[in-house]
Symmetry: C5
Subunit: 297 residues, 5 copies
Amino acid sequence: MASISVLHWHRFLGLAAAMTLAFAGAAGAQPSSGTPASGPAAMAPAMPGAAPIDRAKILSATGVFGDFSVYKLRGEYAMLPAADRKAAAAEVLAVIDRHKDKVTVDAYLTRGFDANSDYFLRVHAYDLAAAQGFLTDFRATRFGAYSEVTENLVGVTKGLNYISKDKAPALNTALFATTYTDPAPRYAIMIPVKKSAEWWNMPEQERMKAIVGHTETSLKYLVNVKRKLYHATGLSDADFITYFEVNDLEAFNNLSIALMEIPENKYQPRWGSPIVLGTIQTVESVVNTLSMTDRGM
Amino acid sequence: MASISVLHWHRFLGLAAAMTLAFAGAAGAQPSSGTPASGPAAMAPAMPGAAPIDRAKILSATGVFGDFSVYKLRGEYAMLPAADRKAAAAEVLAVIDRHKDKVTVDAYLTRGFDANSDYFLRVHAYDLAAAQGFLTDFRATRFGAYSEVTENLVGVTKGLNYISKDKAPALNTALFATTYTDPAPRYAIMIPVKKSAEWWNMPEQERMKAIVGHTETSLKYLVNVKRKLYHATGLSDADFITYFEVNDLEAFNNLSIALMEIPENKYQPRWGSPIVLGTIQTVESVVNTLSMTDRGM
Amino acid sequence: MASISVLHWHRFLGLAAAMTLAFAGAAGAQPSSGTPASGPAAMAPAMPGAAPIDRAKILSATGVFGDFSVYKLRGEYAMLPAADRKAAAAEVLAVIDRHKDKVTVDAYLTRGFDANSDYFLRVHAYDLAAAQGFLTDFRATRFGAYSEVTENLVGVTKGLNYISKDKAPALNTALFATTYTDPAPRYAIMIPVKKSAEWWNMPEQERMKAIVGHTETSLKYLVNVKRKLYHATGLSDADFITYFEVNDLEAFNNLSIALMEIPENKYQPRWGSPIVLGTIQTVESVVNTLSMTDRGM
Amino acid sequence: MASISVLHWHRFLGLAAAMTLAFAGAAGAQPSSGTPASGPAAMAPAMPGAAPIDRAKILSATGVFGDFSVYKLRGEYAMLPAADRKAAAAEVLAVIDRHKDKVTVDAYLTRGFDANSDYFLRVHAYDLAAAQGFLTDFRATRFGAYSEVTENLVGVTKGLNYISKDKAPALNTALFATTYTDPAPRYAIMIPVKKSAEWWNMPEQERMKAIVGHTETSLKYLVNVKRKLYHATGLSDADFITYFEVNDLEAFNNLSIALMEIPENKYQPRWGSPIVLGTIQTVESVVNTLSMTDRGM
Amino acid sequence: MASISVLHWHRFLGLAAAMTLAFAGAAGAQPSSGTPASGPAAMAPAMPGAAPIDRAKILSATGVFGDFSVYKLRGEYAMLPAADRKAAAAEVLAVIDRHKDKVTVDAYLTRGFDANSDYFLRVHAYDLAAAQGFLTDFRATRFGAYSEVTENLVGVTKGLNYISKDKAPALNTALFATTYTDPAPRYAIMIPVKKSAEWWNMPEQERMKAIVGHTETSLKYLVNVKRKLYHATGLSDADFITYFEVNDLEAFNNLSIALMEIPENKYQPRWGSPIVLGTIQTVESVVNTLSMTDRGM
């Protein structure tokens, strides 16, 4: 939105980085979250040496918050001295490390695929305030300060509503029997979905029927597509955040078309807008690629 | 939208702060509202030592204006010298203190949850011009001057239209008998709602029936959700501003889904857009968190 | 959109102000309108000492153009030296004075009520080009140069189409018999309206019936609400600009709801978007409030 | 979008102006179009002393491209030294002169009438690439470089589809018999139109009937309104660009309402958005008015 | 969005250019893609002296990704010293050369035709990550760093779904028998298309019938229009990216109207938005034209 004098930013960010490191070394300090102890959203201080969240567990648990934040890097970032840009990844990694007992962070490079973003982050946390604590600290880094948020959706994981062991035992079995067999996914796609009032007002049996159709249609693509669902009604302007990982994008295109061809599609005023497609990368790789620095140098 | 030279801002804001303090000490001075005594919207001068508004009373009264303003902080704010950013909270608190006999102010941190905002304010006033007076002075502070308004909705509180003692005595009793029992709310959600022409043109009895359904559906969630309603037709581009406080976000997601599943949902061309979710914080905490300063230092 | 160096602006605007004053003193000079004498939109030069437009007359005449321009002040304005900001109101008033024989200007403060504006102007002129001449000169002032136009609608006043003495004599009589009795209005609301193709294609008798309903519904609120109508089809992206003045905002909310409840509402794809609510102020007061200066100092 | 240092712009533009003049004096040079001779869009070099396009002929011919580009001037333009702004019109006129054998250029001042523009240009060319050549060079001038394009539509003129001598001889005769009798038009209005799939899928006879209705309705306004039609389907996001010139804006409002009241209106998902209203001026006058300079000085 | 100090950009970009050249000369170095060797999106290093992709083959193969990125040049670009702007094309060409074994790049000048762009690129790659690799490096050039992405769509080529040899042999034969006979195309048009849920839920035979109608309608225009189709469902917010090359724009307008007149048009909630029309040029020509430099100097 507005210009930033390189010189001043440089000084500020140098200072901020110093502060961040200083704070990181001080037990209990909360540099950028700054919530007062008496405040209603007070968060536990970061524990030095705290054990990281169990990634496998948080990725499969229900009641977990998924916070998808999509960013476009400001043009001025490229103006920072190369030394600063080279230090950006380390600074971000330090923030992630500081929050590793409360959140997990996945990163995706979207530049070249999407007009409104350069990368996006997927943060998981048992407590949504912890995701906010991390993202607030992330925005205080060099790299985060030059990142403009263009989309941000929050959802929560839940058990299966329709294709459960009780309601649809055979399909439930088939669902869990079909596993991804393609090479490791190189791409992720995030698609927000909103269902119409007509959908939500349908008798549950009709919705059940529609979801059975959806699942049967999807089944054969599960060898090519990993997926994860977040419920967002009332938390963000979407009902669901659907997240996919694939290696074979043409298979994903075919799955998407198959899902367009079933009646459920008639009840989706929002499917995408935006569809955010990115390559799956380490945080370090995303920051370095957009910082135009080579870690090997 | 545009750049601000740090140096000049620094000087200007130092000056403004000095002016604000000077004005604050002068009985009857109106530094930034500047309304001429003869003007049609002339507001009473701030009384030094005036008693603050009774918060419990204004929160429960009808005929009270609620002014929701949503802000995104400009990137340049981070460029200000750390000393200035550290002083930001005190400056905002001084403005609030100066207006404490005319408005109450609640603050929420939204960074990390919403692409279009970093925080929002909820201002209550018996006279809407007093809310404008406060917000105009707030925008003249260091922190306010770097805040861009991304949404602003104005509504007024009224008595119950449908579930009143007269019209629906049993439900009215149930409504007031069900009270919040969860831990203190840590999150607030603001959802603007617009009803369609079809809704407004329905016979009152049909709308009554719909609202009864709405209330019965909501009833069981009132142990998890506090709520407050503002009427906005003709004042802003919405018919209602619905405001919620919760500790259990999954319960709020479940309530939201339940409200999607009733016929009323068919008559709501706007529900959200935006949904603004934030953590409930003190003004001081919001300003300090976004200023990346630690009051404890 | 873009940054402005304070120093350069200061110099430029100092110069511009000097030019404006110089021009103002030179009979027939047209500093910023600059229309060539031979051009098709050539406007009469401002007459020094020319008589101002008769306000009561232009406000009640038909065939008068109403030009509503809505502005957001750029952040950089606050950077100008206080002396310049203090001089802003006088500079704007001088421009208004120079055009006082061709236009009338009303001003409204919207900051704190609307995300997309800080103030708006309502200009009346018998010749629309004269409104353009004024607004072009206004934009050349210090204050105008820092104002971004966020909405601009042009309409023309006409006689009553439906509730005329001929077509609906009783209602016409009632309409003119009901007069505003509240304290002087402190608030104004501008609401653009667009009617659907279905509305415009209804037989005139049906539209007549709808407008009779509209008028009957409105009648009882006329003690609380002043209103004025401008026709905009083909001149701006709206069919009507509706303008209201009130002291009692809750009464206005009730009137607005009453108008939602009549069939006419089904034929209005645009009603608001934006609704612009402001406090009625003098131009001087609006400029000073947003300039954070106190004329009394 | 972004800031421009006055000093650097000044130097750059001084240089650019020098280059432009230098190029203008060199036969065959194409400073900013720069199309390689071998490229598919190679354009004939500007001939020094080439005869200008016959304006009457190009305005009445079919197969002619109309390129409507709408601009908002960046705030920084006002920062340029007055001497530069004074030179702006001459520089633009030089570019027009250089392209006068390939395009005609009309200019309109919209400031004060439209939130998204200050002026617009209408360029006619037999070869659309020639319009691009001119507009590219225009954007390389001082004035053009500070102009942001907010709308740009391209269309082509064709013979009458429906009200032709063959298909509707009487109406065709009436159409050409009715001529503009008002004083010279001072205003122009550009209205993009998009027809719905339902319109395009109607049997041709029904569309014929609708257009006959349209023409009969319009006929009586042709004494007040000049009009011109461009076909845009597939070239821009509209089906038609309708262009009008009037002196009597109230008559144009009445014509517009009359066109709302015929069935054709039901098939127009886009009519306006934006409606762009401007005063008809010379290019020199538009540039000077927005440059706040007085040629007479 | 934000300002860039010319001096700093100049230094940075000089450095970046040096780095790019340095990297280009180092086998295996990946300056801006920076993907870790172990990452899921690891891309093969650019081979010095690697053979370029076979253009004819990749343009006719299925399973090929088409990446359309649309750009608007930031105003500050014009501020760079002329020497830098003159060097821009060579720098871009060097990046293209470095990726020539993995992608093909086509360029189009849109300035003067479209409000939201100055040029667009069409990149083809067998591996979509390779397109990202190129575009990331392109954005690191002088010219790319000043380019803002305003639209970006990704699609994949597939065999004919409906008008195949098996399903519609006669029409398939006619389709391949009709070839472009106009002079070499000078214009390209990119039109995104989204089909409605109603379309996708139609029985395949009905869709077949619609596509037969589409093809029969198009057939006679194939002498004037070259076309290519990309499937985008699930990859971008469109179902198809349709791409056309023509010399005769009026013929393209006629084809577009013919396609509006068939029932398929009723099932296309998106057709364009934006339509992007450009002149077909070499990359060098696009960069030079927008850099206002003349290679001949």
